[in-house]
């Protein structure tokens, strides 16, 4: 049974949470998550810096060495870009489905698909953001035990832009967590009002 808009629910949350308000809240959160993930992808993919070092001086002419830092030199950043791209596509598809989906009839199949896809994409963006975060930490601090030098003192703007992409991705991760939680909560609220679920107990024989 669908919930009428504005009807008060007897839940532990204890405030008025109508179906229309929850739908628009979820849609707004998905839009924010899409924007954050897309921003993270774009900033990481376009992240590049070229720098010329003077290595030696022969006579009076300096010997220059040009080094470029690109995102695809590091596998973790490639994974980060792909993961955030996929998550932004997922959120876009979910928004489209929410706005235009009432034309298609797939009610029984809808919930497992949305829940599973949301959780898979949460896992994906979590993996991408954390892998890139620890690679960035390694680039910023180096590792004295493994004799790996830091690179952020030489390529400052590259590291700064990477940090911006990471912040956007962590924002997308927090939003995806919230979206997963709210999406299950909404399904629970919509279905519980007709069954009075907090009184039901499935009893198994001893």
């Amino acid at each position: 049974m669908a919930l009428q808009s504005g009807e008060k629910l007897p839940m532990f949350i204890g405030h008025i949470w109508s179906k229309q308000k929850s739908r628009w809240t979820l849609l707004g959160l998905r839009l924010l998550a899409f924007l954050a993930a897309a921003a993270a992808t774009l900033v990481m993919v376009l992240n590049k810096q070229t720098k010329t070092f003077v290595v030696a001086t022969i006579g009076t002419t300096p010997v220059n060495l040009t080094l470029t830092a690109k995102f695809h030199h590091t596998p973790a950043f490639v994974f980060f870009a792909i993961a955030n791209g996929l998550v932004s596509i997922h959120n876009l598809v979910m928004i489209m489905m929410d706005l235009l989906g009432s034309k298609f009839d797939y009610k029984g199949f809808q919930f497992p698909m949305i829940a599973s896809l949301d959780m898979l994409n949460l896992a994906l963006v979590s993996g991408g953001a954390n892998a890139a975060a620890f690679m960035a930490e390694l680039g910023k601090n180096g590792n004295s035990h493994a004799r790996w030098d830091k690179i952020c003192d030489k390529f400052g703007p590259y590291c700064d832009r990477g940090a911006g992409a990471l912040i956007a991705s962590f924002l997308a991760l927090a939003l995806m967590l919230l979206i997963s939680f709210l999406s299950i909560l909404n399904h629970k609220l919509v279905n519980s009002s007709s069954h009075n679920s907090h009184n039901n107990i499935i009893a198994l024989p001893n």
Binding site: T74, P75, A131, M135, L138, N143, D149, F181, P205
Partner: protein, 178 residues
Amino acid sequence: MEIKEANVRAKAPNKTDKFVLATQICLRIAATATAMAATWVIFTANQTVEVLGMSFDARYSYSPAFKFFAYANAIAFGFSLMSLFFMFFARHALTATIYFFFFLHDLMMMSLVLSGLAAGTAIGMVARDGNGHTGWIKICDRFEKFCDKVTVSMALSYVAVVCLLVLTVMSAGKSRQI
């Protein structure tokens, strides 16, 4: 409406319910066991190598990524053990609300372990293959035993993540039905 409520309350537990509950408990045991194994292996993975009179050693605490991976697995083991005991002892009185809290727990744990895995995998790849562009040399040809143990620990952690993912989807499904 009263007749409908009475019918729902008096629903006899069928084989499907028992099968789902048994699957949940088995998956929780699997997730707890693999998380514990991964934690144990990474905490005891260390190796000392002598080169030219100087000794170099490798342990998990020398890298922030491996430290995060170890602590994430330890926390996931603790919470999974608690949830296993809770589900086992409360198995006759599981409502939809309790399944919702199981869903939240499984979601958090899966996210945490996956974050640790991603960090460990990223740094592990640098350790195993090096990075020619930044001048980072690989260390796994010197510290073979250490690298093998870290690989084993991560493989176990991947199994734990898959179990937790299936648990999350199952808990979400059960939390809306009843």
